[in-house]
């Protein structure tokens, strides 16, 4: 498919930003409404000490990861995809691979008018599917639970990320082997040396991106890309 260069903010993109900001602001209020409604309904406001201690246990790392993800994934997801993904979450394990796969299959590139459309459709479809599966699952939990908790099925759910990134890696690494070698070697060595880093892989995504960008710049200047 032909990709038009997106050299300026088009009227469609202008609208996406307007809808995106409004819907995201409402989404933020809806999210805050959840604990607020619990507090109001039951007269139970959070206790400051445990609230701050609890936040201290997660906010420093997850606020950092969130900021990094916004800057790393927004160029891949486009505007519509970003506004949706950052409300519905699960970016690295679902929304970003889903959008990348859709753009690859449709033959469009990220940050083009066509890429913007395809990425938004992919993320919207993914968000709706996830929400519906969770809803049906919760409603039919009694019937589904014994199946999902069968120990012999545990490897299937433990290996979603390997199955996903194996297939994605095959596509992107074979398309860009020169770009791939340095970040891959670095990351494999790093995770073998420090296995505990796997719990904070989100922070290492921009590290991988910076290494790839440095290699890409050198190869580009040499005319090899």
């Amino acid at each position: 498919m032909k990709n038009r260069p997106q050299s300026a903010v088009t009227p469609y993109l202008e609208q996406v930003h307007t809808w995106g900001r409004i819907s995201m602001a409402i989404g933020l209020l809806v999210m805050l409404m959840v604990p607020a409604s619990i507090s109001l309904r039951y007269g139970a406001w959070p206790q400051m000490g445990p609230l701050l201690k609890g936040l201290l246990g997660v906010a420093p790392i997850f606020w950092t990861v969130g900021i990094i993800e916004a800057f790393t994934f927004a160029p891949m997801l486009g505007s519509g995809g970003s506004y949706l993904s950052f409300i519905t979450g699960n970016l690295t394990s679902l929304k970003v691979p889903c959008a990348l796969n859709a753009m690859e299959a449709a033959g469009v590139k990220a940050s083009t008018p066509e890429g913007e459309v395809i990425s938004t459709i992919a993320v919207a479809a993914s968000s709706m599917t996830t929400t519906l599966v969770l809803t049906v699952g919760v409603l039919l939990l009694g019937q589904i639970r014994p199946v999902l908790e069968r120990p012999e099925l545990a490897p299937v759910f433990a290996n979603i990320l390997p199955a996903l990134f194996g297939a994605m890696g095959a596509v992107y690494i074979s398309k860009n082997p020169r770009l791939a070698v340095a970040p891959l070697v670095f990351m494999v060595a790093l995770f073998i040396a420090v296995p505990s880093l796997s719990s904070s892989v989100g922070i290492l995504v921009p590290v991988g991106a910076l290494i790839t960008l440095a290699v890409a710049r050198v190869l580009y200047k040499q005319g090899k890309l």
Partner: protein
């Protein structure tokens, strides 16, 4: 004041509001993108396949999120984990957030929270502890996209390479993570073996698309290979453990 239960009808109603909002937002953006796609001349079949392949792709990860809801429900009831894993949250965040607050409150995580104050504190931490990405996108996405457009307008080719480098950085980090447990022996190689099996399936799909012109497979190759890789994890795990 009404007596508290983490599985109360009230909390299910709150969950219903959140779910309806998330679905409505997605449906709105989907409708607008489909219209824009047709205006750009993208074939209806491409738009349709994009939707269905993305939906198919999302089913198994969504089932794994459901397992996350179940695991949190023993401590927090069903509605709150259901809400949290339908918006922003991933189990990798929600579980540590709940555990961190439970430790601060000195309550066990293996029994249902019975106190409304403790439940509210946990709900506030789960909500506030992960808002940064949303706030950056809400207030900064326009600027981020303008920066990218500026890079692309100066040098179109470098702009494309820039985005490809971001993809590759993400893939390298996650592929690297698959090797984290290999020092544990043969069982630690299971994720690598599953990834290789999935990659091999993708190579077969690539051949089928190229040699036999099975172009319909282009949209569905990744979800099918992911499902194939997950299915192959059963014999691979049995063999390697």
């Amino acid at each position: 004041m009404e007596s508290f239960s983490p599985n109360s009808t009230f909390l299910y109603l709150v969950a219903g509001v959140v779910i309806v909002y998330v679905l409505a937002q997605s449906a709105f953006f989907l409708y607008k993108a489909l219209r824009q796609g047709r205006a750009l001349g993208i074939a209806r079949s491409t738009l349709r396949k994009t939707f269905w392949s993305s939906a198919l792709f999302s089913i198994m990860p969504a089932v794994s999120f459901l397992i996350g809801v179940i695991s949190l429900s023993a401590f927090l009831g069903l509605p709150l984990p259901w809400i949290r894993l339908s918006v922003i949250g991933a189990i990798t965040y929600e579980l540590p957030a709940a555990e961190s607050t439970a430790r601060a409150l000195q309550v066990p995580t293996n029994t249902l929270v019975a106190d409304a104050g403790n439940f509210a504190t946990i709900a506030w931490v789960m909500t506030l502890g992960i808002l940064s990405g949303l706030l950056v996108i809400l207030f900064g996405l326009r600027r981020i996209q303008s920066g990218l457009l500026s890079i692309k307008s100066k040098d179109e080719r470098w702009g494309e390479i820039f985005v490809s480098a971001l993809f590759m950085g993400m893939i390298a980090a996650f592929v690297g993570m698959l090797f984290a447990d290999i020092r544990q022996g043969l069982s630690g190689w299971v994720p690598v073996a599953v990834a290789l099996a999935s990659a091999l399936l993708m190579a077969v799909c690539g051949l089928l698309i190229k040699k036999l012109k099975w172009t319909w497979l282009e949209q569905y190759a990744l979800p099918l290979c992911m499902l194939g890789g997950m299915a192959l994890s059963l014999p691979l795990t049995a063999w390697m453990k």
